[in-house]
Amino acid sequence: MKVILEHLTKRYPSRDKNGKDVIAVNDFNFEIPDGKLIGLLGPSGCGKSTTLNLISGLESPTEGKIWFGEDDVTDLPPEHRGVGLVFQSYALYPHMTVRQNIMFPLQNLKGKDKLSKEAMNQKAEEAARLVQIERLMERKPREMSGGQQQRVAIARALVKMPRILLLDEPLSNLDARLRLQTREEIRRIQKNTGITTVFVTHDQEEAMSISDEIVVMESGILQQIGNPQHVYDEPVNLFVAKFLGTPAINVFEGEVKGGRLFIGGQDVLAVSGVEDQPVSVGIRPEGFILSEDGPFRTKLVQVEVMGRDTSVVSEHPDCVSGLIRSIISAENRVEAKDGNVAFELKPAKVHIFRKDSGVRIPYPEQERHV
């Protein structure tokens, strides 16, 4: 089932008098393709959870429409939308066993949808098998680990075979190792069921690793939507560039003059066709190549060898994102001259952004190297 959001807007009345309304979601237009896993990504307070609640029907939009395939579900209450929602807190009923928890949605069915006890049990067991907890059916939630509880929550959301599965920060309550495992699990379950799935996260790594597409949001405004690699390689603006990638992109004050990019007076790169103007320059950590007579010289702070890679930490007065982190292959030896280290830059990894709006300015040298 594909989901279409059309001019979706959610405004909350302001808490203080005479204040402006708070716009949690501002004029969203996008389509979630059928059977895909979509990550809604953004810093906290960006409106991603509100978007999820709007899709689920727990909140209704101020303006705009939501379509599930051909159905306009904007005014439908949540129970008639056919969605499954997994909460950040899991919201498992503590007084019920796993089986009772998973069967709970089925027991609500009325009229012609009503199921026999055997059918309910069978469906619950199917859902449990899908998330591999069939052996824990008689346990109470508190007798299980966080990861197991998470699976029960997913099973409960899946038992009615929803048209859309929604996950609100599904991994944030798990420890690092479990998080890795569970996100693959979510990917597997989604692939097996083929249910269109939307999940919310503030962790870009999490979103990039399992999503078919990511939607990057900031303060209620959709920034960019697309395949994770594409969004990473071609961010539309400085915010998206900064939000994606670890270590984060290095940002510098720079200037374009006569088709050349200057950082702190050093001519570092050819950017033909770009008008002369001051710009913000973003260089991905992997965009640096150690080179003795490279054009970009920075002051070396330290070298961190991390097995496969070496991280070179350096300083530059025009760097606005703190220390410069560059990652190079560990085979290279870092040699400093007078405490300085010189780099050549990979154009594909160097983005330039308008000073005022932060919008990325593409330049031809970049395309050739992708």
């Binding site: 949540p78 129970e79 969605v83 499954g84 909460f87 009923y93 007084h95 069915l109 109470k140």
Partner: protein, 293 residues
């Protein structure tokens, strides 16, 4: 020295508990076993269970026992049920919630005797008026009843009504906060699954707040078994004459009423009450443990 230190920290609490709780309790037990104790000469004839036998055969004590049991059995479930109903209603309204909460809490901070006075105006027949409730009954074509000096059931009705009214605010307060502490996500999850309101209440809300309900039932039982001031506020101090005495009232009468001076009987009655309350509380705890999460 190291081993003594914890005891040193505990000493003030232990000393106070010992003087004001343990010693009196032991003393009551001793009194209850001393036959024919004379408080003036501080002498007694012998030791035995005579005091218990006397108390259990005293028609006044039997009456008090009956009154107390009726009071407990009627008011505890009733007040908890009504309290839950009002708490749920309070929890679901949006406007003026605080105002209503305050109104429902008012009886809690009102003096028992002042409330008793109001109830007198409502229920008592005097030379000038039949009482407000009787006036109401008569306007609807019924015959008035003397609720304060009349038949037993009428007096019991007033006592139960009064008790429920007095204990209600505390229960509402506890239950509203219990309801408010249930994680909102449970309700959202239930809503997504299309759960009916009735089912949400029985399957989610009630189990979630059941520890608080059990707490209220247990303290309700204990409180109702210790009822005394309510009866005095309504029927005056001569409760035996009114036939509305309670166990605690009986204990008080044995100590001070009509000259009093029977600490042995009072102690025996108090210990009987203690045994009853203890038994019921244990049963309650057993039930709550079985049904608990």
């Amino acid at each position: 020295m190291r081993k003594l230190r914890p005891w040193l920290y505990l000493l003030p609490a232990i000393a106070f508990l010992g003087v004001f709780m343990v010693y009196p309790l032991i003393d009551v037990m001793i009194y209850s076993m001393e036959e024919g104790y004379n408080s003036a000469s501080q002498t007694y004839f012998g030791v035995g269970l005579y005091n218990f036998r006397y108390v259990l055969r005293d028609p006044y004590f039997i009456q008090a026992l009956k009154n107390t049991f009726i009071l407990v059995i009627i008011t505890v479930p009733l007040s908890t049920g009504i309290g839950l109903l009002i708490a749920v209603a309070l929890n679901s309204i949006q406007k003026l919630k605080d105002l209503f909460q305050t109104i429902f809490f008012l009886p809690y901070v009102t003096n028992t005797l002042a409330v008793g006075l109001v109830f007198m105006i409502l229920f008592k027949k005097t030379a000038y008026s039949d009482g407000l409730i009787n006036v109401l009954i008569q306007t609807f074509g019924g015959t008035g009843v003397d609720f304060i000096d009349g038949p037993y059931w009428a007096k019991m009705f007033v006592l139960c009504f009064y008790t429920v009214w007095v204990v209600l605010p505390f229960k509402i307060l506890i239950l509203t906060s219990a309801l408010a502490s249930v994680n909102e996500d449970y309700y959202k999850a239930a809503k997504i699954d299309g759960t009916s309101r009735w089912r949400i209440f029985w399957k989610i809300t009630l189990p979630m707040i059941s520890p608080m309900i059990f707490y209220l039932i247990i303290t309700g039982f204990i409180g109702a078994f210790k009822a005394y001031s309510d009866a005095v506020a309504l029927f005056g101090t001569d409760l035996n004459a009114a036939g509305m005495n309670t166990i605690v009232g009986y204990v008080y009468d044995m100590l001070y009423g009509n000259g009093g001076g029977y600490p042995s009987y009072a102690s025996a009655a108090a210990l009987i009450l203690f045994a009853i309350v203890m038994t019921i509380t244990c049963i309650n705890l057993l039930i709550s443990e079985k049904t608990n999460v």
